[in-house]
């Protein structure tokens, strides 16, 4: 199996290098062929690994590929940990990546950077696989920053657009704020355990949980709490949790295929994956888990509100991604890691689908993204419409669809959690269900139903996208609809994850709920006794009423609650705060240090000051060297007299 693991990682890397370095020689067809083959091979082998891990019950693999360095007795390796959590992630990453590769042939077919784009997305697949397959913190950080790098390159893919190159810089810097915490967390873990290997660190977690660290004198903190909070700061950056969420909506400046792959299905879920992977640590810190729970729930609700007022089709989906990431994070905070990862999986399929469908609409509309200028597209884009509807239903948690199973189990788990902040979180998530349905169906109705608000020019050229675009839509619609049926029992309530995820007895909410689970059918029926499906229905109906039935009302509501609308349109003023206070403040401080510190005090005062002092001393001593012999003779006589006198008196 070891060679297979290596091949899974290296195939996309090799393909990326070929497409990137020899793009001109192999041409466009060559570039997409080699990368699709590379990722396809990865996907096939990942399925093999999943089969090996799940159906054949193979033991987890933990091995070193090569030693990166040995410093001060600490061995830092590059190596793989392949267990069931990894196997699941590998399949999700490679399958969505493969779909996106195929889709890109259609979406980017007239772009001059065609080969470069394929190279980047294959490189991303490589980076994401190194992240999920890592068996130590060093490699985790490698993959972590590498996916950030490719995200940076891809958001700025259209580098002549001013908005794109602002957005990619912003994404990188906000992620770096997260990485800042992440790196400190890794340093603390090394200090507490003396190792960077997962296995060793996890084995020492119980003893680590009894240590304390003084951040300021007289206030001992649990090492575990501090370490987990620092790691979680990293997760907040990558998985765009408030207040580090600001980069994700702007990342929509990148081409749509990467919005689907990187900014919805895979990279942004890295934080969720990481916390699940670190469950043996987080379990020992109630405080950290409470923080995770509250931040996740807050993100889930408050970014959902923002989705309601967006008019750019990609931005609506982007805010929906933020909100769903909040759901996953909240699940982690409730110690329901399995359902968090389960939602990660279903979300990867339906959100990639929604983005790719949005991309299909954008292509059909000749790169118009404003949903106010669409409407009634259903009959022009039948496949896009139908698959988008499936994705939307899955997103809002319509009973029977994949998203229903994951979201319903998720909210239930949070509701059962016995932890500070759990009640608040539960309410947030519950209201979030209504909000999700509202913005999702608002977009759906405005795009596919109602009056056609498009201009004649666009309308004349309107037609369904080619098969390379619609095929991935169909292939993603299938798991979006049904993947929950066979998987919910083992993954959420069963023993799929085994030892890959560790939950302490007292925190095991999913274990509690498992007793009430009697198969998917019963689960659907049971769901109707709780408010969730009714909230979703209410949200969808509200959207229908406001945007199809009585469009004037939406405008009235907007005018009535103008302050609220302004607040939401300005995204709670996070961007303004970052620009005006943090960015401008840093530049102001930099200028102050430079002009006041370096130029005025050090150069002006110390350097030129000493130069002036020397000059002054020279000026004074120059007076002495008058050139008149009698001056010198006089000085000599005085000097002689002083010396003689001193010798006589001293003796």
């Amino acid at each position: 199996m070891e060679r297979i693991y290596l091949a899974i990682v290296l195939c996309p890397l090799f393909a990326a290098l070929v497409a990137g370095l020899f793009g001109r020689q192999i041409g466009r067809a060559g570039a997409h062929t080699v990368t699709i083959l590379g990722v396809g091979a990865s996907f096939g082998l990942s399925l093999l690994v999943l089969k090996d891990q799940w159906l054949e019950g193979a033991a987890a693999f933990n091995g070193t590929v090569y030693t990166w360095a040995v410093v001060d007795g600490v061995t830092m390796n590059v190596g793989f940990l392949v267990d069931r959590l990894t196997a699941l992630m590998m399949v999700v990453v490679t399958s969505v990546s493969l779909m996106v590769h195929v889709y890109t042939i259609g979406y980017m077919h007239d772009d001059p950077g065609y080969q470069r784009f394929f190279s980047y997305i294959s490189l991303f697949t490589f980076a994401m696989l190194t992240l999920v397959m890592a068996n130590n913190f060093l490699q985790l950080f490698f993959g972590w920053e590498a996916v950030g790098l490719v995200s940076y390159l891809l958001i700025g893919f259209w580098y002549t657009r001013p908005t794109a190159i602002v957005a990619n810089l912003k994404a990188f810097l906000v992620n770096r704020v997260g990485d800042f915490g992440f790196l400190l967390g890794i340093a603390l873990i090394l200090m507490a355990t003396g190792s960077l290997d997962y296995a060793t660190v996890f084995a020492r977690a119980p003893e680590m949980s009894t240590q304390t660290i003084e951040l300021w004198s007289g206030a001992p903190w649990s090492v575990m709490t501090v370490a987990c909070l620092l790691l979680f700061v990293g997760a907040m950056g990558k998985s765009a949790q408030m207040p580090l969420h600001v980069w994700l909506p702007d990342s929509m400046e990148g081409p749509t295929p990467i919005s689907a792959l990187i900014h919805a299905a895979t990279m942004v879920t890295a934080g969720v994956f990481m916390v699940a992977r670190m469950s043996p640590l987080f379990e020992y810190s109630e405080t950290a888990l409470s923080v995770v729970l509250v931040i996740g729930a807050t993100t889930a609700l408050f970014t959902g509100f923002l989705g309601v007022v967006q008019n750019d089709i990609k931005r609506v989906v982007a805010y929906s991604t933020l909100s769903q990431l909040g759901y996953m994070t909240a699940a982690l905070g409730a110690s329901a890691y399995a359902v968090g990862v389960f939602h990660l999986m279903t979300h990867a399929f339906f959100k990639a689908l929604l983005f790719l469908a949005a991309g299909s609409v954008i292509v059909a509309m000749h790169h118009e993204q404003d949903i106010r200028k669409m409407g009634g597209l259903r009959k022009y884009l039948p496949i896009t419409w139908l698959t988008c509807l499936i994705g939307t239903l899955s997103l809002i948690g319509f009973p029977g669809f994949s998203g229903f199973f994951s979201k319903d189990a998720l909210i239930e788990a949070v509701g059962h959690a016995d932890r500070a902040g759990a009640t608040y979180a539960w309410w947030c998530l519950l209201i979030g269900v209504f909000v999700t349905a509202l913005y999702s169906f608002r977009m759906y109705f405005l795009v596919f139903h109602g009056p056609e608000r498009l201009d004649a020019e666009t309308k004349a050229h309107l037609h369904e996208s080619p098969w390379v675009i619609t095929l991935p839509l169909v292939l993603l619609a299938i798991p979006s609809a049904i993947v929950g049926w066979p998987t919910i029992a083992p993954v959420v309530f069963g023993d799929y994850f085994g030892s890959a995820i560790m939950v302490l007895e007292r925190n095991d909410v999913l274990g509690e709920l498992a007793g009430e689970f009697h198969g998917p059918w019963a689960y659907i029926l049971h769901a109707f006794s709780a408010p969730i499906p009714y909230l979703a229905l209410a949200g969808a109906l509200t959207a229908w009423y406001l945007y199809l039935r009585n469009p004037g009302l939406a405008e009235t509501v907007r005018l009535r609650f103008r302050w609220l609308h302004t607040l939401l349109m300005n995204k709670y003023y996070f961007d303004d705060f970052n620009d005006k206070v943090l960015a401008r403040g840093s530049r102001g401080l930099g200028n102050l240090f430079w002009q006041l510190g370096d130029v005025l005090v050090i150069d002006g005062g110390l350097v030129n000051g000493s130069a002036r002092l020397v000059g002054w001393a020279a000026q004074v001593s120059r007076q002495l060297q008058s050139g008149y012999l009698y001056h010198y003779a006089f000085a000599m006589i005085i000097g002689l007299a002083v010396m003689v006198g001193w010798l006589l008196l001293g003796a």
């Binding site: 990166w68 001060d72 770096r176 090394l190 200090m191 240090f593 430079w594």
Partner: protein, 523 residues
């Protein structure tokens, strides 16, 4: 290998060859081309630069055995050559390398051919003298790293200033005279104090051997005075805040090759000085004053990082970035005592020192590469101002790929050499205290902010003006030098183990030395 053949034939050691071959090559260039007039072109010019390239490449080839034949299992000096020089004062011609100096010598011999290539078509006046200055400088720099006799070290240390002074003063920009004077006075003033300290140590020990100095018992007062004298010399070179202001001026005025050598090798002399002199000779004083060194290092990281953010001149920005990155070097070297005090164990001390060393080597590659990149742009548009560029990627896509790579390396991206040193130092510093690590780790944000913001304004965007529109992509020669450095940056980042291994014994030895007080034997 070739060097051992020469060694056998002439009875000269490898290190002597490495020191004197480039110096002789440089003198040959000077003598042969004494009548070179400004603007002269043609056969002579071609001969000059090929000769310079041949000498520098040969030097590099001859330096490779230092690595391949190096015994990594011992911290003791290797390739030792020891002859009496001035018998009256017991001064010796004493050369040797350990795990600290050997990689720095290789860095020097690796970068010199690149610098020669960088000046290939660009230097139009006094070409022979230009290349001669770099060759002589190379020999003297190797001498600094190889010297084990303090006076010999001092001679190389001071002599090195002369070619550098000339390089900036003759081939520099408009304000070159101001910059050279500032550079010379700063560094010269610093070294005078060092000389006093060296003479004092000679008087106490009766020898100029640096290794003897390291074993000399000294009282705390003596140590503190000696430490401060050394500090002056080395802090200026690193440079540490607040004696750093010569560096941006020197860089701005220096020609590309001068900037590369200045950033890549000359600054390392300061860090090397701390390792060779301050830490082992005055461990108790270093321990007493570690708080000061750590504070100055952290000021460099945060304060200088913010200053770099607002620079409008690319070279100044990279110069400030250099100062901030070198802060990690001094931080890693001096954090050991705080680790010992906080945790009561020595685990982490060696990691800090290794991290500092990695940072030095890596910074040699990355800052050198960034100055080469600015040089490529400057050769075309004759401007260093960020505002004069924009959208370079449109006209120079290959060059842009390299510049983005080096920028990301400068921001410490894992997989590049820039990550290794910062990572190790942050891991070590955390043991000395959370807030130290907190401040040090701000480089993740600041480093990315100032570097990538520059890249955004210079490389990305639509074509900003006619100048950029008319740019031609990097030539084969330029791509070659960038690719060579890129190989170093990526190689060291993806697999730092070989370098870590050759340094390990010396690092462990130093980590042991600095924890052993020298007060007991002192009177």
């Amino acid at each position: 290998m070739g060097s051992s053949m020469i060694e056998g034939a002439l009875g000269i050691g490898t290190l002597s060859i490495l020191v004197w071959l480039p110096i002789l090559g440089g003198l040959l260039l000077l003598l042969g081309r004494a009548e070179t007039r400004p603007g002269e072109k043609g056969a002579n010019l071609r001969l000059d630069r090929w000769l310079a390239l041949a000498v520098s490449v040969l030097t590099f080839v001859l330096s490779v055995p230092l690595w391949t034949q190096f015994d990594a299992s011992t911290p003791s000096m290797q390739f030792v050559e020891r002859l009496p020089w001035i018998r009256t004062f017991n001064v010796e011609y004493y050369l040797g390398v350990d795990g600290f100096s050997m990689p720095l010598i290789l860095l020097t011999t690796f970068l010199t051919p690149i610098v020669v290539l960088a000046g290939w078509q660009v230097i139009e006046k006094r070409t022979a003298q230009y290349f001669a200055a770099f060759l002589i400088l190379e020999g003297l720099m190797i001498g600094v790293f190889a010297a084990l006799d303090a006076l010999l070290f001092y001679v190389f240390w001071e002599a090195m200033l002369i070619p550098m002074f000339i390089i900036i003063g003759v081939w520099g920009g408009e304000r070159r005279v101001y910059a050279t004077m500032k550079f010379f006075l700063y560094t010269f003033l610093g070294s005078v104090f060092m000389l006093v300290a060296l003479i004092y140590l000679y008087l106490k020990s009766g020898s100029y051997s640096i290794l003897d100095f390291q074993n000399l018992p000294l009282t705390l007062t003596e140590q503190i005075l000696i430490f401060l004298a050394f500090l002056f010399a080395f802090a200026v070179k690193v440079p540490m805040w607040p004696v750093h202001t010569w560096l941006p001026d020197a860089h701005v005025e220096a020609p590309t090759g001068g900037s590369v050598i200045l950033a890549a090798v000359l600054l390392k002399m300061g860090g090397y000085g701390f390792i060779r002199f301050s830490l082992p000779i005055t461990p108790d004083a270093s321990s007493e004053l570690a708080w000061l060194m750590i504070s100055l290092s952290l000021v460099a990281v945060v304060y200088i990082g913010l200053v770099a953010l607002v620079q409008k001149d690319m070279k100044k920005l990279i110069a400030y970035s250099s100062i901030a990155h070198m802060g990690f070097v001094t931080l890693g070297f001096f954090v050991g005592w705080q680790i010992l005090e906080r945790t009561g164990t020595t685990a982490g001390i060696a990691m800090g020192i290794s991290g500092g060393m990695f940072q030095m080597i890596s910074h040699g590659f990355i800052s050198g590469a960034l100055f080469l990149c600015v040089g490529v742009l400057y050769d075309r548009l004759h401007s260093r101002q960020i505002a004069d560029y924009g959208g370079v990627v449109n006209t120079m896509p290959r060059f842009a790929a390299f510049m983005v790579l080096f920028a990301l390396a400068n921001a410490g991206l894992p997989g590049t050499s820039g990550f290794v040193g910062e990572f190790l130092v942050i891991l070590a510093v955390f043991k000395a205290g959370f807030w130290y690590a907190f401040l040090a780790a701000t480089t993740l944000i600041l480093g990315a902010a100032y570097t990538l913001w520059m890249v955004k304004r210079v490389v990305f965007g639509a074509v900003a003006n006619e100048g950029v529109a008319g740019l031609s992509d990097a030539s084969g020669r330029e791509l070659l030098i960038l690719a060579l450095v890129a190989a170093g940056v990526l190689g060291l980042g993806l697999w730092p183990a070989p370098l870590a291994d050759v340094m390990a014994a010396s690092v462990d030895h130093l980590a042991l030395q600095i924890t052993q007080s020298k007060l007991a034997g002192a009177l």
